[in-house]
Symmetry: C2
Subunit: 493 residues, 2 copies
């Protein structure tokens, strides 16, 4: 019983190992035969599907449509935007041939040297280049703008150190690519989508995030401005959870995309791009889970409620089955996803541990004594508290409890973040504090040099210059030069 | 007004050109900068999304779950199954390097020769190999079976001659991969999923299909048996629209996937795989559309109803706006997707032609005279018939009309197929008939040689050995040898 569970490393012992084990034990994902690429298992994928569906609805509600652009990008496209090629050329998968042939020596198949491509193709690390090459044909006049496209796709970056969900060579994501007639409209779009990401993170993932702007060092390759949402994991490290870029006219210039504006002048188009990926799964897991396994927010849990019968005889089970059936129907009618696990080949204790490991938010258990007493046992995964409540009206009780859990885990994460956020005045204080982890709010002189020095000496980076909150100016903790506002530092994933 | 539309080639003039033009003019897809790869535009993708959603619901209703497996497959995996490598090695995209670097001569970026992979990776043409390599770790005992996984993914086959949706190098699809304890169960699964495909084609796409078994020549590389659904296009050519394979133990043997069966014996696992792709978009377009543009089945149309106001003054428009608003609400409440197009920058005639081109099933038009008379004009896209009906109760009228159109276009396609299906006794008759197109039911001796001869001499292939219908034995039209039943021949896409 629950043998696997017993082997889960505790967070306090080794947080990193706890995470790696949990991903595998909770059946979310596993390493594949291809270096750096994971298999997303059905339970993990079911969570991702719920994320996708919700995000997709939110994108459509803000006027976006989906489309699909090619997986492969001609090598020369990457070079068109100077910063972009620097950022992405170093870690890409290159297709050089289009055919295999039988090995003349009889050892399986080999690359056919005659099938070499004239120009190599790159598996998309991101799609700005191929998309702007396409938009060129879609845009003639301001009447064709804005274009508000999103794509759900796989992308590939040849990362050297990979961790499941957090950093994998292939990952799944969505990438929005929009085209606008004015700079103001594009900036507004980039900020709007950052807001969508923040809403999604907080309301669905129950992960509190700080919205901010990236420093030049941390900007997307090819962007004028990168907006970001930053979350705090339980070990005090930051996780960048979504970014939205104002690209200015950089890609329009690189791909020669002009339009006739309202004044009848030819002008380059303004762009944004924005994306979140399966990395969000990592944020979700690391924010809420505990030493017993996953803790899932009810709004994204594939199974929100599990019901386990406790019985000795087939007759007892029959009675419980009959009692449970209308509850299952009523919960489903309320839009709650519920599983009645009356499988005979596993004991209740094993089931309990398994659903705990998998993070099912609410577990109901019903035995002979409950039937007699008109009660049912309720266990909530977030606090692991058990309670015996009246059977009558259990549907509404559960429905309310799910919302309570959603709120509770968000508040818990927020409290944790607040307890891990400090304000420092001096670089000495900073160096002491950074060893304890967490977000540090400090003044910075705005130069890449100072940022680089801090990174080298402390491994901390500027996570963002926050959009909201205190904007009091001060003096850089390192150089003493003027600082417009405190920025957020942390070590990060 | 409707300038683009006027340029659409007529089907009778050049069916193939009509198709190519329609795909572009109706904003479904366009060629990309990468040979053989298309961009699926938002309107085309919206149709594909509706297909996906419906298929996904049907897969889940039959007990399947989604997962995600890597895009790249180690080259050696392909060689493990002898037939499979023959079928797929010849047309694959090969990744040989993992990095680019700046060209020492200053010409952009070049492949870094030092970043050569030890073993080349193939972009998946289909995923049996990587999935069965994964299943090896998931399956120990009959208790782990069945595994019923599906994946929505992009795949890549280096096709020499491509046509949008029908045959592209990269395409989108779903691939189901199931693992079973017995041969019987696997065959049942393969047939069940063929049934799901046939239901989807007929009830949602309104495309009648023949269910059957492929001859050995046309079988999937690595399958024991391939089941297929075959549709008839308006030009009398067949389109294979979905396949479901019984793979026997071939992939289990290739990847050494064994399980302990109920008799406590070690046995190889039984497999199926099944897939449909963006090719279905081609079937949808070619089955129903006409010289005015797309005709979409209401069950898959992104916009089912469009309402166009006919007005001269802003006051008139205001009156129409107010009249239409509750109709829009009522239709949406009934689950009908409706667009009220009161955009001021296009004339009604242009809008009419555009929505005709895009295949919107029902168009409503409302003018000042209609308001006076309490009427509204209804145009149905399938027959292009216009009718003036009472405004009161228009919601129910439209709802019923959508179902009527769905049924009508299916029946029209079925009638067309029946009119294009002939039964022949002799090979001479066959050769004459095949020039006229359509399905030909004829006796065949069951040998690959005879099939090959017919293909060479007439360009016709055996589309399938039908599962349903007449099973009377006879004599092969070519060799006179015994034939168990008539099979379906056609020229095909």
């Amino acid at each position: 019983m629950a043998i696997e569970l017993k082997n889960l490393t505790k967070r306090s012992e080794n947080y990193s190992q706890w995470y790696n084990e949990l991903v595998v034990k909770a059946d979310l994902a596993e390493q594949s035969a291809v270096r750096g690429c994971m298999v997303i298992k059905p339970y993990g994928y079911a969570i991702w599907e719920k994320m996708q569906r919700q995000l997709d609805d939110m994108f459509k509600a803000t006027g976006h449509v989906n489309a699909y652009f090619p997986l492969l990008i001609p090598k020369s496209f990457l070079s068109r935007e100077a910063d972009h090629v620097e950022g992405f050329a170093k870690e890409c998968a290159v297709v050089t041939h289009y055919r295999l042939k039988n090995d003349p020596n009889g050892n399986g198949v080999v690359v056919d040297p005659e099938a070499r491509l004239e120009e190599e193709l790159i598996i998309r690390p991101t799609s700005e280049t191929i998309i702007w090459n396409t938009y060129k044909n879609w845009i003639k006049s301001y009447r064709d703008l804005p274009i508000l496209c999103n794509q759900w796709a796989n992308v590939f970056r040849w990362e050297m150190r990979t961790r499941m969900f957090l950093r994998t060579a292939e990952f799944l994501w969505q990438e929005g690519h929009t085209a606008h007639a004015t700079s103001e409209e594009a900036i507004e779009e980039a900020k709007k989508m950052l807001g969508v990401y923040a809403d999604f993170a907080e309301k669905y993932m129950a992960v509190p995030v700080i919205k901010g702007v990236k420093s030049a060092n941390e900007r997307f390759a090819g962007a004028i401005e990168t907006f970001t949402i930053e979350a705090m994991m339980q070990d005090g490290k930051a996780l960048q959870s979504g970014t939205s870029h104002f690209l200015g006219q950089n890609f329009a210039k690189a791909f020669d995309v002009k339009f006739i504006n309202k004044n009848n002048e030819l002008e380059y188009v303004w762009a944004t791009s924005w994306g979140v990926s399966t990395r969000l799964m990592g944020a979700l897991i690391m924010t809420h889970s505990d030493d017993n396994g996953l803790v899932l927010p009810p709004h994204l849990a594939p199974i929100q409620v599990v019901i386990v019968p406790i019985y000795k005889t087939a007759d007892q089970l029959k009675v419980i089955d009959d009692k449970v059936a209308p509850v299952v129907d009523a919960l489903r009618a309320m839009g709650v996803s519920v599983k009645y696990d009356n499988a005979d080949n596993k004991r209740p204790g094993f089931k309990f541990a398994d659903y705990e490991l998998k993070g099912v938010p609410v577990r109901l258990a019903l035995g002979a004594r409950d039937i007699e007493n008109g009660t049912i046992e309720v266990m909530r995964r977030d606090t692991l508290e058990k309670q015996t409540v009246e059977f009558a009206g259990i549907e509404n009780y559960v429905k309310n409890l799910l919302e309570e859990i959603q709120t509770n885990i968000f508040n818990k994460a927020l409290k944790h973040r607040e307890s891990m956020t400090t304000t420092v005045e001096t670089y000495d204080e900073f160096k002491e504090q950074i060893e304890k982890g967490g977000f540090i709010l400090a003044h910075w002189d705005g130069t890449p040099e100072t940022e680089e020095k801090i990174k080298e000496e402390t491994k901390a980076t500027i996570r963002c210059i926050p959009l909201d909150g205190d904007k009091t100016p001060g003096r850089c903790m390192v150089t003493g030069r003027p600082s417009a506002q405190r920025v957020v530092f942390a070590r990060n994933y």
